[in-house]
């Protein structure tokens, strides 16, 4: 009936247009009349009573409270530390709502009154400067859609386990938004960069005064001082009133609550670029300053802890991204990586942004292993977990972008598996 393009039920993406958006059991239900299925057509109660009026700031339906970030319990020895994860399996498209954008804090969220906030530029500049929030709002701004991914996202997968994991719990430290702000180069030009300045040390105004070092060529390329996220001032958990944003690079370097930019000869060697966010290899040397996030993709539906109710047509869908460019291709396998089908790209393929993919799949009721594999515009192909473990071992867990495998059992239960 449908053109199969890879084993175990993968259907050509050319069939996408003719099929429903969700496609769950589409063939079966079309053979049953509505009346036979018990569907009735009374006027529902919400059509008989006026609802509440407009509100100051919107929120999700009370019937959609599953739309929530998950976060671990606070550690008393580490106040305000920790992270919350985006519910990737419940989202569509590529833009993460601000209230669901993942968070990672090192000493909690500071309660910053923007009128008391300062942005200092100092170090190897002709003229040290200070800017207020109001000052920055008057500059010419740019808007760009970029993903942000924590370097620790998906890290636990290298060590195995987590069969109960969901897309959210295993990979929810990635989100995507339209960021608006002032190019860092504008501000640096105003201060005047001295010739021996090779790095930029960025410091936040949180209780940890979290700092990271950025090479000067990146700082002058596409780094911005972000003031808005998806059109509104960035939320406190994302750095209100301002954050550094380093497109495509590990999330920690996009310092939130930005309060100081210092031009330096070398990297400042902050705790979070030496002790943390470095990767120890099997030979016990450690990679430092691994900046661009790897070419990566993830099937968000079907994904861990979902269950397929009946056989038939499903839309496999997911997200792909790369810190080195745009996504050129996403392939999907239903047989654990033996055969692959090209997925359709839905919408835009922007550089350093999430890209949505989908491919139709007919589940015949037997077990399957679903995988996706991204290739970026520079030709970087997402590696298997096996290749990743051979290359870098599992001593450290940052910067993992290996292929995720979702096992589908013969009763339709979806779990994280290792192949």
């Amino acid at each position: 009936m449908y053109e199969k393009v890879a084993r175990n039920g993968l259907i050509s993406r050319r069939h996408l247009l003719g099929m429903g958006a969700t496609g769950v059991g589409a063939i079966a239900s079309s053979e049953v009349l509505g009346a036979d299925a018990g569907i009735t057509f009374e006027i529902p109660s919400w059509s008989r009573t006026p609802g509440p009026g407009a509100s100051a700031y919107g929120t999700r339906s009370r019937h959609a409270e599953y739309l929530r970030r998950t976060h671990a319990a606070a550690n008393p020895t580490y106040p305000g530390g920790g992270s919350s994860r985006s519910p990737l399996q419940h989202l569509q498209g590529t833009i993460t709502p601000n209230s669901l954008h993942f968070e990672r804090h090192h000493a909690g969220i500071p309660d910053i009154n923007p009128t008391g906030h300062k942005l200092v530029i100092n170090g190897l500049v002709r003229q040290p400067l200070v800017f207020t929030y109001e000052d920055l709002l008057k500059y010419q701004m740019i808007s760009r859609v970029y993903f942000l991914e924590c370097a620790g996202n998906s890290g636990a997968l290298l060590r195995g386990g987590n069969t109960n994991g969901t897309a959210q719990s295993l990979h929810g430290l990635v989100s995507c938004a339209e960021w608006t702000g002032v190019p860092l180069s504008t501000i640096l030009d105003e201060a005047g960069i001295l010739s021996d300045a090779k790095w930029v040390a960025a410091v936040g105004a949180d209780a940890a005064s979290m700092g990271r070092s950025v090479p000067i060529d990146k700082a002058l390329d596409d780094v911005m001082i972000a003031l808005y996220q998806n059109g509104e001032p960035i939320m406190p958990g994302q750095g209100y009133p301002m954050r550094l944003f380093c497109p495509g690079w590990e999330g920690n370097i996009s310092v939130k609550w930005l309060t100081q930019i210092k031009l330096t000869r070398g990297p400042a060697q902050f705790r979070d670029e030496t002790s943390k966010y470095t990767d120890t290899l099997p030979n016990r040397s450690s990679f430092q300053f691994s900046f661009p996030m790897g070419s990566k993709s993830l099937i968000t539906s079907p994904s861990g802890q979902m269950s397929l109710e009946r056989t038939g047509i499903y839309q496999i869908t997911g997200i792909a991204w790369s810190g080195s460019g745009s996504i050129r291709r996403v392939e999907v396998s239903a047989d654990g990586g033996q055969t692959w089908a090209d997925a359709a790209i839905q919408g835009l393929q922007l550089g350093k942004a999430l890209t949505r993919f989908s491919v139709p799949w007919e589940w015949n009721g037997s077990s399957a292993i679903l995988q996706s594999r991204a290739t970026d515009s520079r030709g970087n192909v997402q590696p298997t977990r096996e290749a990743t473990l051979v290359e870098r071992g599992n001593i450290s867990f940052y910067h993992n972008h290996c292929i995720q495998s979702w096992g589908v059992s013969n009763v339709g239960e979806v779990t994280n598996v290792y192949v």
Partner: protein, 186 residues
């Protein structure tokens, strides 16, 4: 010069003049439109604000301390999370011991992993103690930095740590890192 050539020249000059005028006027317009709202300041104003201590010594403040002096600062402010001897209490709080060459995943601590002594000073000053960061004086930060280095067997109990001596400390894992900062895209 023939009339024809003169006409050609004048056209060419008008053209050149237009190009020069247009590019010049656009420069003028740009510089007029460019916002310059930063308020000039001096580095000396930032003495309390700029907490960055770099491996080359830039930003290390005046003051000094020994491990002997640092023990009481540590016992009062740090031991509750890091344990009386730096052995840790939970999670990420172990700061003493470890060996990068040990069997299995190595325990990575200040002594076994951190490549620069300046980072110990910098991190304690900006972020510790976790419940009251930036509550220690520079003198106390030197003292407790010395104590953490002493517990790791890197300096002696009486060694005076200051902006000069801190630079001479070679951390055990200083050569253990591979700098990948030149890779901006894969």
């Amino acid at each position: 010069m023939s009339v024809r050539l003169q006409t050609f020249m004048s056209k060419k000059f008008i053209f050149l003049f237009l190009i020069i005028y247009l590019s010049f006027s656009s420069i003028v317009v740009n510089s007029q439109e460019r916002v310059r709202l930063g308020t000039p300041i001096t580095e000396s104003q930032l003495a309390e604000f700029d907490l960055i201590a770099e491996p080359d010594g830039t930003g290390l403040p005046d003051g000094s301390g020994t491990a002997k002096q640092g023990k009481s600062v540590y016992d009062i402010n740090c031991a509750v999370c890091h344990g009386p001897d730096g052995e840790g209490t939970s999670g990420n709080t172990v700061i003493v011991g470890g060996d990068m060459q040990s069997e299995g995943p190595p325990l990575r601590t200040v002594g076994s992993y951190w490549p620069y002594a300046s980072t110990v000073f910098d991190f304690i000053r900006r972020a510790m103690p976790a419940t009251a960061p930036k509550s220690l004086t520079n003198e106390q930060v030197y003292q407790v930095t010395a104590y953490v280095l002493f517990m790791n067997g890197i300096i002696s109990e009486d060694a005076e740590l200051n902006a000069r001596t801190l630079l001479s400390i070679e951390m055990p894992n200083a050569k253990g890192f591979i700098d990948r900062s030149n890779i901006h895209s894969n």
